[in-house]
Point group: C2
Chain length 216, copies 2
């Protein structure tokens, strides 16, 4: 253990205000917790992420777990942030190939969907937490939402979206979340989710100011 404690302050959180800069050991604890959370979630979904188990798995006292993440929902939303970062990185490497913005967005979302299908339990835990979150988790949920927006705008290839386009993006996110839920709860098939995503993505063409399709 080199005594150079000054170098610490890992502060790499993606675009997060980083209220209190964490020491190395704290950052390590945080990672262990998130890892344990994702692992338990992958096993059995939302219910399998039990706070006592997360604490034990990550070698941290229950009280400490709650100091890092003030509730199970906070923990799972943070887990989602974490996974979203991964995903964004992965997506960046291979940008979608579609001709139109609508196609590219649909392709991107379907790619993300396929990733979720590989870990359906994890998806369950994260999405349920996200939609169940109450006001006390708003900042974190909002961060997830912003990150998702960035991914979609990326796929659209837009620098300066119009308010109309932003609204379309919001609607796409709504559809994305809700379609995932219907899939996770077994009320919609994978095919149906695909159709819904493709359907809602048509809104993009409708709000494209460079195209002809805008009546109002």
């Amino acid at each position: 253990m080199p005594a150079q404690a000054k170098v610490a302050k890992v502060e790499a959180r993606t675009s997060q205000p980083a209220s209190p800069p964490l020491t190395e050991r704290q950052e390590a604890r945080r990672r262990r917790i998130l890892h344990a959370s994702a692992q338990l979630a992958s096993r059995g979904g939302f219910d399998a992420v039990q706070m006592r188990e997360v604490a034990e798995s990550s070698q941290v006292a229950l009280g400490t777990l709650y100091r890092y993440f003030p509730s199970k929902i906070h923990l799972l939303v943070a887990t989602m942030q974490d996974q979203l970062e991964h995903m964004h990185g992965t997506l960046r490497k291979k940008p979608p190939q579609g001709q139109t913005a609508a196609e590219r967005v649909a392709e991107t979302l379907m790619r993300a969907f396929r990733a979720l299908q590989r870990e359906p339990h994890l998806a369950d835990a994260m999405v349920r937490a996200l939609t169940f979150a109450d006001r006390s988790v708003s900042p974190e949920v909002d961060q997830v939402s912003r990150q998702t927006t960035v991914i979609i705008l990326d796929a659209m290839g837009l620098e300066n979206p119009t308010p109309e386009q932003l609204s379309a993006v919001r609607v796409i996110e709504h559809t994305w979340h809700s379609a995932l839920i219907t899939w996770l709860s077994g009320r919609a098939s994978i095919a149906q989710v695909k159709i819904d995503i493709e359907t809602v993505c048509r809104l993009i063409d409708l709000t494209d100011p460079t195209a002809s399709g805008k009546p109002s």
Copy 2:
């Protein structure tokens, strides 16, 4: 239609298979429970609906409450079914006035939204339960979804929707639920919900086979 309705068993549940026909006293219990649930929800939302309190409020033992509704989520989803019936009745009386199908659907949803705004806590309890529901509640959630679909198709004035239109309706429902959630958790304003609803309703025109706007 089979006019064999002379049976005394109350069995008025809207289009529900009515597995076991309930006696009068049982129907009365069921009503008391749903009433207590709605009342507590109106006070303090999801968290305020505590099973022990519902049981006491409706003069029923805890075990009995669980026999009628096997979980808090089941109870709240049933409460939503109940409220949706009300709403559908109300909406039927004054059909929306818009010129286009899109306008009428948007108007209908905004009317429903205004009703929810009058009881935001109740809305919170019902919508949170709906999106948090897992597979064990699928049939009930599906019933709510079907009822919502009927309301939207009603507003569109359609008898035989195309698969494309059904997909658009599903997307509208997705947006409706998810937009409600963002509003309830304080991440979107009422105005924003309105915009999103209007935006997604444009999909209806896009999928109207009698109109010109359908490129593909």
